[in-house]
């Protein structure tokens, strides 16, 4: 032991920790289990809404053709499980324009302030070596009956190849069931069935929602959710004026790193 350790130990004693009430902890665990099981029987429409809302918020944030207020209005018009407006980025999209706020940081600064780990791509088209912008912004709380109740940090990374990757932590309803990739897949299928510009696929075992690059409509994108619970889930989008395989390759790199860190996640 050393002097600094002792000083920390001395300060930590301020926590005044009492002997744990093991029965209370077991009760809390039981309540968590009950909540989880109850959540799994909530209607499929609510499940779909949980996935499409954060995706819509993400894509709406980078749609330069509409004003913020217009995007907010479109969010309010969402029907359960279905995006109310085309989730396209527009021909004015550029990887060099910050989608969230204006603060620019180094990758290291952004990572140290986020509170969650950034899984950055490592491919020929996008790697830390080819990173040219790192922006940090915020996603406001969703309002009544939504969690978390505090703003969430969002990140956008731009690479010299013209690829932009965005990360948006989940904002979700208090009654939505636990996060699952199966539910995400269902939501994406619904979205694709309603709009021909979308298609679904699986990349490294994770369901993704694809938008093909079109000169008029804007860049292509691969959007997906990663997480092991509602609390740590985030929506990630790989965006660029590139082919679907090229964008999927970047998405695969991110997913594989996440999967390596979460071997127990289905």
């Amino acid at each position: 032991m050393n002097r600094f350790h002792d000083r920390l130990e001395h300060l930590a004693a301020d926590a005044d920790v009492l002997r744990p009430d093991v029965d209370a902890l077991r009760d809390r665990a039981r309540r968590r289990t009950i909540r989880r099981r109850a959540g799994s029987v909530v209607a499929a429409a609510v499940v779909a809404l949980a996935f499409v809302l954060p995706l819509n918020a993400l894509l709406g944030a980078v749609d330069y053709r509409v004003s913020r207020s217009a995007a907010d209005e479109s969010s309010r018009q969402l029907s359960p499980g279905l995006p109310s407006a085309p989730l396209r980025f527009g021909s004015a999209w550029s990887p060099d324009i910050a989608p969230f706020g204006t603060a620019q940081d180094s990758l290291a600064e952004a990572e140290s302030d986020l509170g969650y780990k950034l899984y950055t791509p490592d491919t020929t088209a996008a790697s830390d070596a080819s990173l040219i912008h790192a922006w940090v912004g915020t996603e406001d709380p969703g309002g009544e009956d939504m969690l978390p109740t505090e703003p969430q940090a969002t990140v956008a990374l731009a690479y010299s190849s013209g690829i932009q990757v965005t990360y948006v932590p989940w904002v979700y309803g208090v009654k939505v069931p636990a996060f699952s990739q199966g539910s995400a897949a269902e939501s994406y299928k619904i979205a694709a069935s309603q709009d021909d510009s979308y298609s679904t696929a699986t990349v490294a075992g994770v369901p993704v929602l694809l938008t093909a690059y079109d000169k008029q409509a804007g860049p292509g994108s691969v959007a997906f959710n990663l997480g092991s619970s509602n609390e740590d889930a985030q929506t990630i989008a790989v965006i660029g004026k590139l082919s679907a395989p090229e964008l999927e390759d970047v998405a695969r790199s991110i997913i594989q790193q996440w999967s390596a860190d979460h071997p127990d996640a289905a």
Partner: protein, 165 residues
């Protein structure tokens, strides 16, 4: 869920240590106790998996750190709005200078410093608990110690105070 006597044993040996580490990371007793209770409730809920882990302590630290950092996500707003959003150290701290210096660190730096210097975890184990790469842990620790040195003055951390690699 079938948490038998072993879960009680884990609580006996680890609860206070996890709670104290969470307190150093969060700077708030109530939040730290809430994080600790949630951590052990999750351990109880997943006891079938946790009880057979080689290193359940590492799992506990990881969950507690993740929950603590989630509580501190608001700090990210500071990056955008340049407005401080940090916990206030307890008014009656036994070491107000250190408490104040700790809350000036970013949550991730604070977590790295606490895991390395208070829990005496190795860089590898700290990286596992934080879900970061070892290089990121080295950087976070170095930045954190640098800021503590600036706040607390030279000489508070001696050469032989360095934790295990």
């Amino acid at each position: 869920m079938d948490a038998g006597d072993d879960f009680e044993g884990l609580c006996d040996t680890m609860y206070e240590r996890v709670a104290r580490a969470a307190f150093l990371i969060l700077g708030d007793r109530d939040e730290a106790l809430d994080v600790t209770q949630e951590t052990f409730a999750r351990a109880c809920e997943r006891w079938a998996q946790v009880s057979v882990m080689e290193n359940p302590e590492g799992w506990l630290y990881r969950v507690a750190v993740n929950l603590s950092l989630s509580k501190r996500r608001r700090a990210a707003r500071r990056v955008l709005r340049r407005a401080p959003d940090r916990p206030e150290p307890a008014a009656e701290s036994t070491d107000p200078a250190l408490a104040k210096a700790l809350v000036r660190l970013s949550p991730a730096q604070r977590a790295a410093v606490v895991l390395r210097f208070y829990l005496d975890l190795s860089i590898e184990t700290t990286a596992e608990a934080l879900g970061n790469r070892p290089g990121t842990v080295r950087a976070l620790t170095s930045q954190g110690i640098g800021r503590l040195r600036a706040d607390l003055g030279a000489g508070w951390l001696e050469e032989d105070d360095e934790p295990v690699p």
